[in-house]
Amino acid sequence: MKYFLITLGIIVVIGLMIFSWIAGSYNTLVTLRNEGQTQQAQIETQLQRRFDLVPNLVATVKGGMLQEQVVFKAIADARTRYAGAKSGTPDKLEAASEYQSAIARLLVIMENYPQLRSLDTVQDLMVQLEGTENRISVARQRYNESVRDYNHARQTFPTNIIAGMFNFEVLPLFESVGGAEKAPKVDFNK
């Protein structure tokens, strides 16, 4: 009887330890995933800001750049693709990057139109765009950092057991497109 009680006690203690370990790991994973999702929301806020700004810029310069229709089409297409992609998927992030490189191309082309670039409205829009790009890159960096923490916890032993049990999915990293991470540069005195 005495041994039975001792054994029972040991089993209960071990059971409690396993339970608290599972609960702890589960909660850590949830916290990390929430952090990643918060940061992702930050990115999407800034991307939205960009989507609000670019049409203004396009509308202002389009008339003076009639022979550059290809780039305007690329911008419109990427916008459509982004709107159609599901939030938080790699597809959405890819569409955002595509949009960014289309804008970058537009800005390069605009270098050939100094009279357009010198318009006050264009300059202000470009400064705002520049600020938005910088915010996006800050948000992206913070998102990637938190996703890296989460994915790391998700993949390493022993948390990976819990992650497998409760179906914690891998979150995608948001890499910038080559050449597009440079924010556009504007100069008021040029």
Binding site: E130, N134, I136
Partner: protein, 296 residues
């Protein structure tokens, strides 16, 4: 057993190495020396002191924290990366208000940036920041007038972010609410103590057989019938409220002149009263990359 020991020692060593690397990665960002951190050593001593006083007074009045920073170079990072990392390390601005600004100059790169805290992005927009850099600071820097370029830039930033809370001083608010809290505690002690010791029943309890009301003598108290006789009516004895009421105006009185004083004697006392020189701590504001960059 031996193998395990070796493994754990190796893991321990790896951890130490990782820690060293982590420390190294952060060492690239120096700690601030005050509101003005002249790491590139391009500002004159006098000017630095004056600017520091100005920024410290501005912080007193509005709680906005402006950090002016000069470095030789931001390499290998761009000025945008360097300045956001500096902001993440220093955290100028108050927690919750996020009202910090960093004005950063990289002297050898000839680049500059205004990094705006989240809470000020509405007052100091990207476009305004850009105008301050391009139209106000750049001409002075090109002419070689570093000090005056910095002054004019700081003044423009101060004007931009003064609009919101210049009149409502954060420090006086704190003093006011702190005073009220103390008053409430004192009032609470008086009330509770008064109730406990009083021969009267609080809040309409059961008093003398014939008297019911807010503050009536307790049964069997020596006040009993004698003080109120056998009047069969409600009796209200307002003991505590007048005490509170008389305290309130005097408290609001104490901080008003204090606030005014700040303006007049700021040049004399700010250095000592703030322990501003070298002893400041930024509050914990957060940044999301707002602002603008330029070059000269």
């Amino acid at each position: 057993m031996n193998k395990q020991l070796i493994t754990s020692v190796i893991i321990f060593l790896i951890l130490i190495v990782l820690t060293i690397f982590a420390v190294k990665a952060f060492a690239a960002y120096p700690s601030y020396t005050s509101f003005v951190s002249d790491f590139a050593n391009v500002l004159s001593e006098d000017f630095e002191k004056k600017l520091n006083t100005k920024l410290s007074n501005f912080e007193d009045k509005t709680s906005n924290e402006i950090a002016v920073v000069t470095v030789d170079t931001t390499e290998p990072e761009t000025i945008e990366e360097y300045s956001i990392h500096l902001a993440e390390n220093w955290k100028p601005g108050k927690i919750g208000k996020d009202n910090g600004v960093i004005l950063l100059f990289a002297m050898n790169d000839r680049t500059m940036r205004i990094e705006v805290g989240r809470g000020l992005e509405g007052e100091l927009t990207d476009v305004e920041s850009k105008h301050i850099l391009d139209d106000t600071i750049r001409p002075e820097f090109r002419a070689g007038n570093i000090d005056s370029g910095v002054t004019k830039g700081v003044d423009a930033i101060i004007i931009a972010i003064s609009t919101e809370n210049a009149t409502i001083s954060a420090t006086s608010n704190e003093g006011g609410s702190g005073g009220i809290i103390i008053l409430l505690i004192v009032a609470g002690i008086i009330i509770v103590g008064g109730i406990a010791l009083s021969p009267l029943t609080p809040f309409g309890g059961e008093g003398d057989d014939h008297i019911r009301g807010l503050w009536v003598p307790k049964k069997d108290s020596k006040w009993g019938r004698r003080s109120f006789g056998t009047i069969d009516q409600e009796v209200f004895v307002p003991i505590v409220p007048p005490i509170i009421a008389s305290r309130f105006p005097s408290s609001s009185h104490t901080y008003t002149p204090d606030d005014d004083d700040n303006d007049d004697s700021s040049s004399i006392n700010s250095g000592s009263s703030n322990s501003g020189w070298g002893g400041i701590t930024f509050g914990g504001g957060s940044f999301s990359g707002g602002g603008a960059s330029s070059s000269w």
